[in-house]
Each structure stands twice: as C-alpha cells, then as structure tokens.
C-alpha cells in the first residue's frame, strides 16, 4: 500500500508535467542551451572533447536538475495541495519518496536524451560506452535528486527559492559530482579506475536517501 502511494505521487507529478509540458521542456531547453554554449566556447577537437565529456555531462545534468527541482513542488502550490498531501494517512517518508521518484524519472528522461546529443554535438566516439555512462549517471542522479528534493522542500516557501536552492545544492553535491566525473572518465579511458568512484557514489546515494526522508518529515512539521 505504501508503494502504491509512492507510485501515485510520482505518477501525478509525471503525468502533470507531461500534460503541462512545463518541467521537462524547460529542462531539455536548458540542457541544449548549455551544450551549445559549451561547444561554441571551447570548440574542442575529438580528443579534447573526450577529455571534457565527463565534466560536460555532469555540469549539464546538475544545471538541468536544478531547473527541475525549482518546479518539483509547483503542483502542490495550487489550492493548498501541499497541505492535502501532508494530511494523507501515510508516513512523511512516503510523500518524500513519491516526490523524489517523480523528479528522478523526469531527470533520467532528460539524461537519456542529452547523452546522444552531446556525443553528436561534440563529435565524440564513445557510443560503445553509452550503457555504462548512463548507468553511472543514473547512480549519481539517485542521490542528486534525493538531496535536491529535500532542499526543494526546504526552500519551497522562500521568495528567491531557485537561487537559494542552487546555493545549497551546489556545495553539498560537489563531492558526489567529482565522484561521478571520475567514474565516467575512468570508463572512457582504457585503463581507468572506476570501481572506487562507483562505491563512493553508492555511499552518497545511501546517505542522502536514508537521511532525506527523515529530514523531510521533520521539515514539514508545524
């Protein structure tokens, strides 16, 4: 039953977004803009592009995640819907996981679309590594969106919430992003080191996803 509630909250967010074409289109537009600017600014050759790829991917992922997180509680701002959510007879952690799952699915969808785009735009021959890169992106995105959803809840009522969200999220996720960049760099290099970075990403995921639901419950108490 609790799984059903998590699914319903996530379903409501994903369906709502696909109907309004709000978050997903903003995230995609933003990601494409960032990539075009990077390409125009650096004009890297193939070798250099391969070296830049991990950083570019994670930077684009982080920025687009921020765009999505800025809207993660948008639907709850209508007609006291957030209050209605909190009055549901499910633990607060279930509400957190539902919101997180909805945001995660949208972010993963954007990542799935921007990875081929980045390979084409930067003319990088890394197609054989696409499944491994996507797996690492997904692993990092679990924790990134977990922490991000908590911070989005925290800054929900703030006047300049998107700025505040960025100010909080960027320093807190920096170690995780370094691990993500190093893991993808390891995959792209013939003798690269991957395993320790994946372990580190997993630890970050576990810590964020264990603490965030508890912190969310504490945060929404009045």
């Amino acid at each position: 039953m609790l799984i059903q509630a998590i699914y319903r909250i996530a379903w409501k967010d994903v369906v709502g977004d696909l109907r309004r074409r709000a978050t997903l289109s903003s995230m995609l537009f933003f990601a494409i803009s960032v990539l075009v600017v990077f390409q125009a600014a650096f004009e890297p050759d193939r070798q250099e592009a391969l070296r830049l790829l991990p950083g570019l991917l994670w930077a684009t992922t982080l920025f687009t995640t921020l765009v999505g997180l800025g809207r993660v509680f948008q639907a709850e701002e209508e007609d006291g819907a957030f209050e209605g959510l909190l009055l549901a007879s499910v633990p607060r952690g279930v509400i957190f996981f539902g919101k997180w799952l909805g945001n995660l699915l949208l972010t993963l969808l954007v990542e799935l679309l921007i990875l081929p785009l980045i390979l084409v735009l930067f003319n990088v021959d890394a197609w054989k590594h696409v499944p491994a890169i996507l797996a690492i992106l997904a692993l990092g995105t679990l924790g990134l969106t977990g922490l991000g959803t908590l911070l989005a809840a925290m800054t929900r009522g703030a006047r300049s919430r998107e700025t505040l969200l960025a100010l909080l999220l960027l320093p807190l996720t920096a170690p995780m992003l370094i691990a993500g960049v190093q893991a993808i760099a390891g995959i792209l290099q013939a003798d690269g080191i991957v395993a320790p970075w994946i372990k580190l990403l997993t630890i970050f995921d576990l810590v964020y996803l264990a603490l965030a639901p508890w912190a969310f419950g504490w945060l929404v108490e009045e």
């Binding site: 006291g80 819907a81 009055l87 007879s89 499910v90």
Partner: protein
C-alpha cells in the same frame, strides 16, 4: 457515508484537553478543552483571527500539538498521527485539488494516499452524486469555486471518516449547494460521524443539529443557540 469503521461505541470521538498553540511569542490558543461525541456537530464561532482555523489545523494534525492532550477515536494523536489521519477528513479554505488532474484522477489520488480500496466505477458514482457527471473528464483547473468545493466534499463519501473538520464549508456554494451540503452532513451525523466546523453563517448552520462554541482571546467557551448570531 457510514463512518469508518461503523460505530456503536458511545465514547467520545474527540477529546482535546488543555490544548495550547502559539505562533512565535503570540499565544493563539490557550487551555482549549473540547469533547465531541459520535453523531455530534460542534460549530466554532469567533471573530477573524480568533484562532478558529488554527484550532482546526491542530485537530487535523496539520499543526503539531505541543502542549495538551488530543485523543481521536481513542488514539493519542501525538503518538500515532498517521493512525489519526486515517480517521479524519479536513476540508478547509483550500480544496487540496490538483488542477491538472480530472475529478476522477483527483479522487484516485486521494484514495491511494488513504489506502481506500475503490474502483473507477465507484469513483464515477461519487462524482455523479455530487453533481459533476458532466465534468468528469475535464481538468479541475477549469472548474468554478463551487464545483471545486463539491469535488472536495465528494471525499467524504469515500473516506468515511470518524471526524469531519470543515472550515467555512458554505463559502462558494449556491443555495442548491448549501441544501445539498446540509443533507449530506445530516446523513453523516445520523450515521454516527462527528463534525467540527468553523463558520460565520449561523443561518445556514441552523439546518443541522449542533452545539455552538465561541473562540475569543484564545479561549473556547460553549454558548447557547440564541447567542450564535452575536458570536460571529
């Protein structure tokens, strides 16, 4: 509209003792005692800012009770808030509806979060009962305030709560809607449900058997039916 589970227990549904609430240093509620039995309707009157909505927020568990004792259907709300939430329904100034979802989807969402087993057929029947059958597939964002209120109240037919909390339930309803709401609430009370509502409208409340209370300077006092119009 039978309260959940069907009640033959005469013990009070709500027991609130010495409840306090403050916003920062401002004491809004102090020493609130309120007992509501099955089938009883308590109406809270009071001037704007007297604390009616705060009291309803405390009773709904939206605000955490930090001082005092609150038992709902025998459950200590401070200890088991999730259990308590399953036994109450709160419809306040906001309808808690999602504009991008249809009435059916809104009710599906509501029942999922309350773990109420229902079928789409049952939900459509409830939507028909509240008079929204022609708008069943339209996103709620296009609804008038009165239609939203009707849909919000449709939850009462699904949740079967022991305690119903209403904040200004007659606002946004036309004359027909007021009659429909009072008929719905009368059935709810007749079936043993307990109702606490905040209102400024003694004329419309008069159709229901009720016990009036007045909130003033943070304190709750019982008043007589004759005093109701002065208490608003």
């Amino acid at each position: 509209m039978t309260p959940h589970p069907p009640s033959s227990d005469p013990s009070p549904v709500v027991v609130l003792e010495n409840a306090q609430h403050r916003y920062g240093r401002h004491q809004v509620l102090q020493g609130i005692d309120l007992t509501v039995s099955p089938g009883e309707c308590a109406v809270l009157y009071g001037a704007n800012g007297s604390g009616k909505s705060t009291l309803l927020a405390l009773l709904s568990t939206r605000y955490t009770l930090r001082e005092g004792r609150y038992l709902l259907d025998g459950i200590d709300v401070r200890q088991e808030p999730h259990e308590a939430r399953a036994r109450l329904l709160f419809i306040g100034h906001h309808t808690h509806l999602y504009g991008h979802l249809t009435p059916l989807e809104n009710l599906q969402f509501f029942t999922s979060l309350r773990t109420i087993p229902t079928t789409d057929q049952q939900l459509r029947h409830v939507i028909n009962t509240v008079g929204l059958n022609k708008a069943v597939d339209k996103p709620v964002q296009w609804f008038s305030a009165g239609m939203r209120k009707r849909l919000a109240l449709a939850r009462l037919l699904l949740a079967h709560p022991k305690l119903l909390l209403l904040d200004e339930p007659y606002s946004a309803l036309d004359t027909q809607g007021v009659g429909w709401l009072n008929a719905m609430l009368t059935t709810f009370l007749h079936n043993g449900g307990s109702l606490i509502m905040a209102s400024h409208d003694p004329e419309r409340v008069a159709a229901l058997p009720h016990r009036p209370w007045q909130l003033a300077r943070g304190r709750l006092h019982p008043i007589s039916n004759a005093q109701e119009s002065e208490a608003c």
